[in-house]
């Protein structure tokens, strides 16, 4: 299932219909809670596009509450829900705040630029970045294909895919992995 969440609409609906700025922790917490409520209604794997296009200002505290704490809830080997997130409409100043929040927890996410390019943002080591890039070029693939593309041992490729999946940077369908933003 693919959800599209316009963060600005969530802000207006949950906090104040006059606001266009995502500032302060209480505001961020309210917006995140609403996003979590929307997600909890669904079953099975979901990809949620979080759209910042209509957000005017995003401060550091709010980025921590909306983005970092949302990712923290769903990352790891046994998340509460099989949820993935793709950010869109992120401006350079939004990115400052988001990257600062991600680095604090050593988190990462996938962002789609205005031209459609997919970008890996946050704390990602070189091996994971190389694996993610290779999988993006493949479009989709299993450990065997990634191992071949990277010139790595099968076990190493498998470990990289598991790590990327636990970090919610790629989706998993049985033995096949798909980068966020690509068509499964």
């Amino acid at each position: 299932m693919i959800n599209h969440i316009d963060v600005s609409s969530v802000l207006r609906r949950t906090v104040c219909d006059l606001y266009s700025n995502l500032v302060t922790r209480p505001t961020g917490a309210a917006v995140r809670t609403e996003i979590e409520n929307l997600l909890s209604a669904g079953r099975g794997p979901s990809l949620t596009v979080i759209d910042f296009s209509h957000v005017n200002l995003l401060d550091y505290s709010c980025a921590d509450e909306v983005v970092a704490k949302l990712l923290l809830r769903f990352e790891g080997g046994a998340p509460a829900q099989d949820a993935y997130f793709l950010l869109r409409g992120v401006r350079e100043d939004h990115l400052d705040a988001i990257e600062a929040a991600l680095e604090r927890y050593r988190l990462a996410l996938v962002m789609q630029a205005d031209d459609g390019a997919l970008l890996l943002v946050g704390t990602v080591n070189d091996d994971q970045r190389r694996a993610w890039q290779a999988l993006r070029e493949l479009g989709r693939g299993a450990a065997e294909e990634l191992a071949l593309a990277l010139g790595e041992e099968l076990a190493d490729a498998q470990a990289l895919l598991v790590a990327l999946h636990e970090r919610r940077l790629v989706m998993r369908f049985d033995d096949t992995y798909v980068p966020l933003g690509a068509t499964p």
Partner: protein, 295 residues
């Protein structure tokens, strides 16, 4: 008996200390008259600190404003008198407020106590920030949003930590003494619990023998320590530091008896001043200088 507190003619972060030095030895219920008749100039930091000083007095303080018409009128346009009349017994000449007519005032003195106030401040600042920061101070357009983010985080320091309301003001002025250039200054002042008490309230925190206001400021500003267990906390001040570093600005935070500063090359302040007159809460000053366009 009323003790007269003399306000120097030029009032900035340095000279306001003369005022605080005079007040510090007095009991909170001692009646004071803050005599600013001879004041000719005041930075936004000084004006908000004066209001904060008024908040700290158990016995309502008296206040006499500048006798100079231009100075008094300017103070009125910053919103000072509007709030001063709530805090002080005003004596002498009190000019009528004419809000919104001063182009150097990006944000008149505004009370901040809750999250909604921060939203209000951020909404209001954006109306003027672009025009002044980009066209008058020659900062790059990308600075405008970061400026508003910085302002937001500085104000949230009051909401999150002070446990009582404070004040914020944003103005531009020409800083002839040190810089000879225009600057924009954010001042955020409160008379709350201050950094040391805030950090002491952290559950399980160990207080070392050397623990004092200076160490509390170093922990909070340099090391990003907060009273919260949440590792995401402390990002606000870290963001403020990044903004100040990027735009060659100055950040100084006074709390209790100490003041810490991120000092740019154009300023001669010390990184940590200690043994200042005790004063409640936290007083933040962020100064961003005009950029000289390349020839």
């Amino acid at each position: 008996m009323t003790t007269v507190i003399n306000v120097p003619p030029s009032l900035d972060a340095e000279t306001i200390e003369q005022v605080l030095d005079q007040v510090a030895p007095l009991p909170r219920d001692q009646k004071v008259l803050i005599d600013a008749r001879h004041a000719r100039w005041a930075s936004p930091y000084a004006l908000t600190t004066l209001l904060t000083l008024g908040q700290t007095r158990a016995e309502r303080a008296a206040f006499t404003g500048p006798e100079n018409d231009d100075t008094a009128s300017y103070w009125a346009r910053t919103g000072f008198y509007k709030h001063a009349e709530q805090i002080f017994d005003l004596h002498g000449y009190v000019p009528r407020s004419r809000n919104g007519s001063e182009s150097s005032v990006l944000l008149e003195i505004t009370p901040v106590a809750k999250s909604e106030d921060v939203h209000d401040v951020v909404e209001r600042i954006q109306q003027k920030a672009q025009a002044i920061l980009v066209h008058e101070l020659h900062l790059e357009p990308q600075a405008t949003m970061r400026f508003a983010m910085t302002l937001s985080e500085a104000c949230q320091n009051i909401v999150e930590h002070a446990q009582r309301g404070g004040w914020v003001a944003v103005q531009t002025y020409t800083w002839r003494q040190r810089l000879g250039r225009r600057v924009v200054q954010i001042a955020v002042c409160d008379a709350g619990i201050g950094f040391r008490a805030s950090l002491e309230s952290a559950h399980g925190r160990r207080i070392s023998d050397r623990w004092d206001d200076g160490m509390a400021l170093e922990d909070a500003v340099i090391r990003g320590v907060t009273r919260f267990r949440d590792p995401g906390r402390g990002q606000g001040l870290a963001g403020v530091r990044r903004f100040v570093g990027k735009w060659d600005g100055k950040l100084s935070i006074r709390s209790g008896t100490a003041r810490i500063a991120i000092v740019p090359s154009w300023d001669e302040d010390v990184p940590l001043a200690e043994d200042l007159a005790p004063f409640p809460g936290a007083q933040i000053q962020i100064t961003i200088p005009e950029r000289i366009p390349p020839r």
